[in-house]
Amino acid sequence: MSADDWHVADDDLRAYADGAARPPWLWSTEAHLGTCPRCRRRLAQHVDPAAVHAGWARLDAELDAPRPGPVEKLLVRLGVAAHTARLLACTPGLRRSWLAAVGFTLAVTTGAAHLARSMTVPIPLLAIAPLLPLIGVAISFGPRVDPSYELAVVAPLHTFRLLLLRCAAVLSVTTALTGVASIAVPAYGAVVLGWLAPSLALTLLSLALTPRFGPVAAPLAVGFGWLALLAATVQHPTGESVLFTAPGQAGLAAGAAAAAMALWKVRAAFDTTHHLGRVADPSTRRTI
């Protein structure tokens, strides 16, 4: 009897279909079915169509299942719900290129603080670090940076909630990176943490001003305002500034709280594209 003449017995096919076949007979049957159309046709008579359909559905689900990237995996591991992690993973401010730029900037400012022995306050780090979350948040939401921005605005998920989620993600990451940079200059003491209050104040103020001035002008104005404030208060060559004293930090924290309240008041403006301002409305630039 040649190999072509041999076929799986009906009882064995039935056992295979029921999942009752055991090795090594299972392996032998499987190998034969792979090369024998006749036995495959016979097998179909023993298989429950509903079970086959369910099997295909399971396979489809497995193949379609979104494959989370490293950021998303990390967020889920940290306890963030899978669907929230997916929303956060789309945050432009968490892109590798932006994070690399933040890391590089912090390395440079930390290095400058190390080299400047005449300073008692690491002013390059304290001046630049609050701008990083400000820029990070500015590039995380809006028509210029989020390709599906318009779909996000008209979706039932509250746009302000999406904005806050993304802000929280950007702030967390930049805070962690800046925290690491602060540890790298321990000689300056507790003053190296002076970036924290202005980071919050600048970011919240920028968001609160966005409905009035638009998503580009608001962070620009706030950023330059911060630099101007530093230019007016920093003493040469020590780098000391009233902003990094206890009263100055308390004032910045109060400013952050006031900006948070102002942002809460204007939150409804983020529910439509009104927070872009009339002039910046995409329909006026692209087409009416």
Binding site: A65, P66, L151, L162, T284, I288
Partner: protein
């Protein structure tokens, strides 16, 4: 059933008037929104999609007033929207992108099954796992349409979905739109009178921010009745004239010498309406 009722909608961007005193109603089926560039079509669709509010006028969508937060949310839960330039996260697969929009639409139970259903509905079963950046323009439009169909919306707003598609893709897209329009309201903004002729039960013509015509496509064609001619030579003074494939000239306007009156098409009616509106604008 009346899905949308707009009364006196107006909107200005700075000194520019985008919409002025726009009133209309939408019912189940496909309604075409025709108009030249800058007519105000996209602005009107964005108001209906709750992306921007109107400056003035009354608007009821699916029984809700979108000016308030609660009404806006009620509309958004039953709305499907395909913007003119739908942006895609290029690193996503088609499935992942639609799944992302499903999360934004707060679909919790059976989300992946729903994503699979809409991708099947637009004929993208075999393309689900492909990255968006690897898809053709027509396929991407289908992905956008699939996202718009999530959660069985009662109102679907499509902003020029057939732009940039080749003739076959355009035909397939029209077929899809016709299917979608069965049992729900679809508003289809387009430049193409063929889109209106093939799939729309009603048509609105918008020009310079005002509605110039609202009715059935046949009635739009009827706007040019008795004003469309063919003749062997071009005649000066026609509103529009062009040489056809047969060598004769197609005229819209007063009859040229040796002219033969022909039945008007939707395009003829549209040109008549737009031209009358432009004349009115110039003399106003």
């Amino acid at each position: 059933m009346t899905t949308v009722r707009a009364e006196g909608l107006s909107l200005r961007f700075g000194r520019a008037t985008a919409l002025e005193d726009v009133s209309f109603a939408l019912h189940d089926g496909v309604t075409g929104l025709l108009g030249p560039n800058g007519a105000g079509k996209t602005t009107l669709l964005r108001i209906l999609a709750t992306a921007i509010p109107a400056d003035a006028g009354q608007l009821r969508i699916l029984g809700a007033d979108p000016r308030g937060a609660a009404g806006r949310l009620a509309v958004r839960r039953r709305l499907g929207y395909l913007p003119q330039n739908p942006g895609f996260h290029q690193h996503f697969t088609a499935f992942e992108f639609v799944d992302y929009i499903a999360i934004l639409k707060e679909i919790v139970v059976g989300r992946h099954d729903e994503v699979r259903r809409v991708l099947h509905a637009v004929g993208l079963d075999d393309q689900r796992g492909k990255k968006i950046k690897a898809l053709s323009g027509g396929m991407r439009q289908r992905v956008g349409l699939a996202a718009a169909l999530l959660d069985e919306p009662a109102l679907v707003i499509l902003d020029e979905p057939t732009v940039g598609l080749d003739p076959e893709q355009r035909m397939r897209f029209r077929e899809l739109i016709a299917q979608i329009g069965e049992g729900r309201t679809v508003l289809l903004s387009t430049h193409q009178t063929e889109d209106v002729a093939t799939v729309c039960q009603r048509v609105i013509v918008l020009n310079q921010g005002r509605i110039r015509f609202e009715g059935e496509p046949v009635a739009l064609a009827g706007m040019a009745r008795g004003r469309v001619w063919t003749s062997p030579a071009r005649a000066d003074g026609a509103l529009a004239a062009w040489r056809t494939g047969s060598g004769d000239y197609h005229h819209i306007g007063d009859p040229p010498p040796d002219a033969r009156l022909v039945d008007p098409s939707i395009e003829d009616g549209y040109l008549m309406v737009i031209d009358a509106a432009s004349l009115a604008g110039r003399t106003a």
